[in-house]
């Protein structure tokens, strides 16, 4: 397929609208075509920029109360007086649900922001001509290389008999905090593993299972004060398998 035909599918790729087969074929093309990889990177960056810029307006407390009240007040009016007492806990629950909704909304926005940033780092690295700063398949070479470069230490799994191979590593930054960025390969897919010091509450709510985020599959967990992220266009099963190897090595 010529690059022009790929370009027609670029938006669909960035928006996660391609079928898994198409996405895998597109992903394979990106690894062999620097020009398309650069376009894909720009597409992801543009989408992320709009995502951040678009979340601009918060409703006023007055409007929030008005909407809440319109549900609460009217509900009471429509129901016999004997139900009034029964409604008190329900209204309390609704208020609690609203608070929770707002809280979860904030957490979700934070989660999306972190995911988008990591997806950017992953794509930017794949598009780069120098993907890694330490080029080695040997974990005993890669791990010591990070000493003095990141403010923590970590263990990497031994990979004999597994389909995964380690390509190398580099230092990455997530909101001015340095961390380790390792690149693994399975078949034709490159997978990024990010390790950062845990930043506490803001990341606590991140889900533990593999999930689809910003067109990629991702899994995250916390262990020994470190937050791990595994992200790539490989299947959820592959992401899960690599995560398991890392968790067992930890």
């Amino acid at each position: 397929m010529a690059c022009n035909e790929w370009l027609d599918k670029l938006d669909s790729y960035v928006d996660g609208e391609l079928t898994p087969t198409e996405a895998a074929t597109f992903g394979a093309h990106l690894r062999s075509c620097a020009e398309c990889a650069a376009d894909a990177l720009q597409g992801v960056q543009m989408k992320r920029a709009v995502q951040i810029a678009g979340k601009r307006y918060e409703p006023s407390t007055d409007l929030r109360n008005k909407i809440k009240k319109s549900f609460g007040v009217k509900s009471r009016r429509g129901i016999a007086a004997k139900w009034k007492f029964a409604l008190i806990p329900a209204v309390g629950l609704l208020a609690a649900a609203l608070v929770l909704t707002s809280y979860l909304g904030r957490e979700r926005r934070e989660q999306q922001r972190v995911y988008s940033e990591l997806a950017d780092l992953h794509v930017a690295t794949l598009a780069s001509s120098t993907q890694v700063d330490v080029l080695s398949t040997d974990r005993h070479t890669v791990k010591p290389w990070f000493q003095g470069k990141v403010p923590f230490t970590f263990n990497l799994p031994d990979l004999p008999g597994s389909e995964f191979s380690l390509l190398g590593g580099r230092v990455a930054y997530l909101e001015q905090v340095s961390g380790a960025h390792l690149i693994y390969q399975i078949r034709k897919h490159e997978i990024s593993v990010f390790i950062f010091p845990d930043r506490g509450d803001e990341m606590r709510s991140l889900p533990s299972g593999p999930e689809n985020a910003v067109s990629f599959n991702m899994q995250t967990w916390m262990k020994n004060g470190l937050r791990y992220f595994v992200i790539g266009d490989a299947s959820k099963e592959d992401i899960k398998a690599l995560s398991k190897l890392l968790q067992d090595a930890g």
């Binding site: 938006d11 669909s12 928006d15 609208e17 990177l41 720009q42 597409g43 960056q45 543009m46 989408k47 920029a49 709009v50 995502q51 951040i52 810029a53 678009g54 979340k55 601009r56 307006y57 918060e58 409703p59 006023s60 409007l63 929030r64 008005k66 909407i67 809440k68 319109s70 549900f71 009217k74 509900s75 009016r77 429509g78 129901i79 609704l94 649900a97 609203l98 909704t101 707002s102 909304g105």
Partner: protein, 180 residues
Amino acid sequence: MRVPEDRASAASFADLALPLFDQLYNFARWLTQDKAEAEDLVQETYAKALRGFSSFQAGTNFRAWIYRILRNSFLNSRAGLKVTVVIDGEDGEILPTVSSTPESLLMEQATREIVQQALETLPVHFREILLLCDVEDMSYKEIAETLSIPAGTVMSRLSRARKALRVALSEKNQGGGRGL
């Protein structure tokens, strides 16, 4: 706003509609570009949605349904009438190609404010599709339902909207002054 006698219906409406409150307000504000009009629009949307909730088919997409109500209410409003012609017509003239790559500039210099300013300059039909896709994270199918347009039009309009945004960002850059 009148709540149906049926408590189950009112409760399920609240369960579905209230979690979307913040997002609906953000979208309304982007459409109207005015705080008071956005507040009126959100209240009108909730009132209309509640009245029409009995016609909503369980199992279908509630989010697309209520966003469609909001958007149609906007188009019928004073502010919306000004843009109706553009939305119902063609997607506009062919946009010029950008020689520079504003995305690369984004990496170095762009701020949230600059993208916001660029979004503000876009016609409503481009602004809304970018918001639904990138901010609300709607699928093409949901966007098609919300805007009542075919899926193919979603793709072409989205592509043109992104191109228009790149042009707007590029113009901001070439215009000197602040930002890009």
